[in-house]
Amino acid sequence: MRAAWRRARADLWPLAVTVLVVALTVGVTDAVPRLLSSRADTAVRAAVAAADPPADLVVTSMYGPGASDPTVGAGDTRAGVDDAAQGIDSFLPPSLQPVLGPPIADATGTDLTLSTPGLPTGGVLWMSYLWAGQEPSVRWLAGSAPGQPGPDGAVQLGLSSEVAGVLGIGAGDTFQAMKADRTFVPVLVTGVFDATDATDRVWTARPEILRPRVVGQRNAPTTVVGGLLSAASLPAARAALEPDGVTRTFRFPVEPQALDYAGSGALATQVAALEASPVLVLAPGPGARVTSRLDLVLTQVGARVAATWSQATVVLAGLAWGTGLVLLVAADLLARRRSAALRTVRARGASLPGIAAGAGAEAAVVVGVGAAVGLTLGQLAAPGALSWPWVVVVAVGVVAPPAFATVTAARSDARRVPTDRHRRRLAQRVRSVRRLSIEAALLVLAAAALVALRRRGVVSISGPADLALAAAPVLVAAAGALLLWRAVPVLLRGALRAARRSRKAAPLLAVARAGATGAVLPFVALVVVTTLVALCGALASTARAGQAEGSWDTVGADVVVRTTLPDASLQDVADRLADADGVDAVAIGRVQDRSELFDVRGVDAVRVLAVDPGSYGTLLARTPFGASPAFALLSDASAPAAAGAAPGALPALVPEPLLGTRPSLRWGNVMIELEPVGQVPALPAQQADGAPAGPTIVVDRAALTAVVQALVAARAERTGSARVGTEQPEVGPDTVWAVGPDAPATADAAASAVRGNVLARAQWLTDRRADPLAGGLLTLLGLVAALCAGYATIIVVLAAAASAPGRATSLATARVLGLRHRATTRVAAGELLPSILVAAVGGVLLGTVLVGALVAPLALRLVTGQAADPGVVLPWWTVVPVGLVGAAVLVVVTVESSARRRERLGQVLRVR
C-alpha cells in the first residue's frame, strides 16, 4: 500500500491530469442529456405557446336543417352549444384531456351583407353566440340583452359600442341583412354593450364582435362586423339562416405547461387520429370536423428536438472517444515512466496478472475520484437521475493503465529476436500485415459509418444501436489520422534530406529526433480532438450564420407586417413606412400559400406571391437575395393586364421546370391561365410558420386583380349571379415588407391600426438564438470545442513528457559536444513541432471536411430555421488548435530548457 502511494506520488501530475480529464468529461456527458431533456420540454411548450395561428383543437359542426323553432329559446341553445361543448370535453381521449383547457364555443351564422347609415357601401355581418362556461360578461350601455324574437320575427342582436359606432346604429334600431340567396333577415339591435373584460378568452372566438375588421382591396374595402346573440336569441337566428346557416365551433385551447417532449409524439398521433375520425369526439350535428395545428406543431418541434439530440449525441460521442484517447496517452506515459520499475518487479518474479491488478487498482481509485468529481459537477449543473454515457470513459480510464503496464512489464520477458535473417523478415512482414489489417479495418468502419450517417441521417440516431453512427466523425478522424501518420515519415524524409545538406547541427538533430520519436497514439489522439474542435467550431458558426440566413428566409426583409386575412388598410401601413425616415424600401403584396397549380404534370401546391414587381424587386435588391432582372421582365409583361385589358393569360415568374408551359392557377373560385415570362429569382424560402414555402409563382398584383375581376365579371355575365359578401376571390394585400434601420420601429407603430402581426428580422434572430434547443446546442458545441482544445494541449504535454527522457539525453550529449543552451530549445521545438503541427492542421482540415458532410444528415437546418441546409461557415478560430498546440510545444520546450539548465552535464558521461 505504501509502495503504491509512493509510486503514485512520483507520478502525481499524470494522475492529476487523468482525474481532471475524467472529471470534465464525466461532468459534461452526465449533465448534458438531462439539460437537453429539460430544454426539449421547454422547446415543446414554447413552440405550442408561440404557434400562430394557435394550436388549439377545434371541433366544428353544423346545426343541421329544420331542427329548430325560433321560439324555443335558451333551452335549445344550452343543449346545442353549452352541453355539446361539455360533452365533447368529457369524451376527449384521456391523453388529450390534461393538455386541453376548457372549451370556448360559438355558434355563428353565415356571411350576411348589410348596409347601414354608418356603412352605406355595405359590409358583412356575422351573428354569433359565444360560450366559455358561461356567456360573455358585458356591460349594457344602452338597451338590453337580445331575447326571443318579437312579433315582427326580427332576430335580436347586441352590438358592441365600437361596432355600433361603425354601423351608425344604436339600441332599438332595425336593419335588413341579406343572405347569399338574396333573401333578407330582419335584425333588431336590442342593446349596445362594452365587454366587461375585453381580454377575456371568450372573445378570441369572434374578435369582430368587439372590433370591426376591414378586408379587400383598398379601392373596394369590405368591413366585417360581428353581432352578439344570446342563448335566447340564437334559435331565431338558426331559424332565419336555415338550412345550413349556423356553424358551431368548439375550441379547446392547449395548455403548453401540461406538455412535455416525452408525451408529444403520442399526443400528435392522437390529434391526427381525431382529425381523421371526428366521430370519436361525438360532436353533435352533421359535418363534424376536427382540426388542429397541434399535431403539426408537435411534429415540427419533435423533429427539431430529435435533430438537437442527434447533434448532441454526435458531439458527446466525440468527446467521450476523444477523452478515451487522452486517457490512453496518459496510461502510455505512466507505463513509460514506470518501465524500469515494472521490468524490475517482473524480473523479480511478479506475475503479469499481479502487475495488472496493481495498476488497475490505482487506476480505479484515480478514475473513481475523477468520476465522483464529474458527477458532482454534473449534478450541480443539472440535478436529476444519472445518465450513463460517461461509463465508457470510466471503463477506458480503468482498463488502459493496467493494459499498458502489463505490456511494458511483459517486454522484459526475454523474447529473442530470430537470428535467421529470413525469419526476422518474416516476423517484420507479419507485423506489417497486422498493422495494415487494423488500419484497413478502421478505414472501412469509418467509411461505412459515415455513409450510413449520411444516408440514414438524423432520424436514425435513436438508441444504443446507433452509437456507431454517432461515432462516425471520430472514426473518420481516426482513420484520417492513420493516413496522415503514414504521410509524416514522407514529410520528415524530405526535411531530413534538406537537413543533411545543411551546415548546421540543429536541423539535423531536430528532424532526426522527430522522425525517430513520434508515436502513433498521441498523434491519432491529437488529430481526433482537433478534428472535434474544428467540427464543433464550424458547426456552431454554421448554425449561427444559418440562423441569420434563416431570418431572411422567414421574414424576407428587415420587418414584415402580416394580417391573418387580406386587409386593405395595409396600404396605409405601407405608405407610412415609405414616408418614414430610416426606411429604405417598402413593398406590399399578397402571399397565398398552398394554391393549386395545374400543368401537364398534374396539380402542384405552390405559393403565389402577388406583388408590385418594381417595388418588391427594389426591396429584395437591398437584402441578401439581391437584385434580379426578372422583376423588370414581369413588370413589363404585366402592364397591359394591369391596365385592365380583357381577361387573358397572367404573366408570371415560375420555377424553371414550368418555363415553356401554360399552367393554370386556381384563385378562389376562378381559374387563371398563366403565361410564364421568366424564372422566379431567389426569394425568401419559408412560410410565416417556418414551413418550407415550396415552389413559388410571382405575379403582378395589379394584373392579378384585373384578371380576377374580369374573370368574375365574365362569369357573372354568363350565369346572371352577383358577388355576395366576402365570397369574391380576394386579391387584397396581406403582407408589407420593409427594409431599413428604422423599419421595425416604424412598422410597429404603423401596424397597430390594422392589428397586423409585425415580425422584425432582428427580433426573430434574437428569439431563435434564445431558443432553448438552438441555444443549448450552441453552448454545448462551444463547451466541447473548448474542452477538446484543452485536451489537445494535454495530449501535447503528455506526448512531450513521454519522449522527454530520450530528448534530454540527446540534447545533453549535443551540449557536451558544444551545442549552446539556446540552441537546445530550438532543437527540442523542431523535434516536437512537425508531427504535432501535422496532426493539428490535419485535424482542422478533417473537421472542416466533416462539417460539409454532416450538415445535411445532422439536420442543422432545423436549428437554423432554414428551409434548406445551411452553407458551411468556417470561423477563423477553427485554426486556434494549431496555434494552441504550437504554443503548448513552446511552453514545454521552454520548461524543459529551464530544467536542463539545472542539469549537470557530467552525468551524461556516467553509466546509466
Binding site: 545538406r501 540527446s810 559536444l817 557530467g906 558521461l909 556516467r910
Partner: protein, 233 residues
C-alpha cells in the same frame, strides 16, 4: 609554476563538493594537476574516487567550488555556460564509457556533428568524416545507426567524432569499460594512435592496466586527492 601555466591542462587546488551538511560528498579535495601538450595521462582510482568529477571539471561540464582550471590557457571555471560550450566545441572532445552517440543519426552523421556545430562547409565536413571513418576502420558502416553496430564499433565512432573537431584535449572516461578485452585493446590502441597522430593531449580515466601502460603517465586518485603516480605495466 610557470611551467605549469604552459601546460595543456593546469589544475590547481580544485575542490568540488556535492550536496551539503552531513550528507555532503567531497568529490575533489584540492587537486593539483598539470598535463603537458601531447601527453596522454591516465587517471587511475577506484569507483567514486573523483576521476569522473575531475574530468568533468577539466572538460567544462562542471564547475569547481574552489580552485582554477586552465585548458590551453583558458580559465574554464570563469567561462559562462555558452563560452564553456564553445570551449567544448573548439578545444575539448569527449569519449564516454556509454559511447554517447545519438541513436537517431548514422555513424557518419554522428561523426559530423562537431563540424556541424562549427558550421564547417559541407564539402569539408564530408571529406573529414570520410577520412575519420576510414581512420577508425568503419567506412563500410557509415550509414548504419549505433544500434546496428557492435560496442567496439560504436566506441570507434565516438572516437572518430571526438577527433572530428580537431580538439586540443581529449577527455575519455572509462572508454573501454563496456567492451570486451579484445575490443577494448583495439580501442585503446586507437586512442594512443590518434593522440600521437593528431598531436593532442589526452586525459583518460581508466581501470584498465593495458590503457595505463599505453599512457605517458598515470596518476592515482584517492578520495578526491591525487596521491602520486600510479604503477604502470
Amino acid at each position: 609554476m610557470s611551467a605549469g601555466l604552459g601546460a595543456a591542462v593546469h589544475v590547481r587546488d580544485v575542490h568540488r563538493t556535492f550536496g551539503s551538511g552531513p550528507s555532503a560528498v567531497h568529490a575533489l579535495r584540492g587537486v593539483d594537476l598539470d598535463v603537458e601538450p601531447g601527453e596522454l595521462v591516465a587517471l587511475v582510482g577506484r569507483s567514486g574516487s573523483g576521476k569522473t568529477t575531475l574530468l568533468n571539471v577539466v572538460g567544462g561540464l562542471d564547475r569547481p567550488d574552489e580552485g582554477s582550471v586552465l585548458v590551453d590557457g583558458i580559465d574554464v571555471a570563469a567561462l559562462s555556460d555558452d563560452d564553456q560550450a564553445l570551449l567544448r566545441r573548439d578545444k575539448v572532445a569527449f569519449v564516454f564509457q556509454t559511447f554517447g552517440l545519438m541513436p537517431v543519426l548514422t555513424a557518419a552523421e554522428n561523426v559530423g556533428v562537431p563540424m556541424r556545430l562549427r558550421e564547417a562547409p559541407v564539402a569539408e565536413r564530408e571529406r573529414r568524416v570520410e577520412m575519420l571513418l576510414e581512420l577508425v576502420g568503419l567506412t563500410p558502416h557509415a550509414l548504419q545507426r549505433p544500434d546496428e553496430l557492435s560496442g567496439g564499433q560504436q566506441q570507434r565512432v565516438a572516437i572518430a567524432r571526438a577527433l572530428a573537431g580537431s580538439p586540443r584535449l581529449l577527455v575519455a572516461d572509462e572508454p573501454t569499460g563496456q567492451l570486451d578485452s579484445e575490443t577494448g585493446l583495439s580501442v585503446m590502441a586507437l586512442i594512443r594512435g590518434v593522440v600521437e597522430a593528431e598531436g593532442m593531449t589526452a586525459l583518460v580515466a581508466t581501470h584498465d592496466p593495458v590503457m595505463i601502460a599505453l599512457a605517458d603517465r598515470a596518476v592515482r586518485v584517492v578520495d578526491g586527492r591525487l596521491v602520486g603516480a600510479a604503477e604502470r605495466g
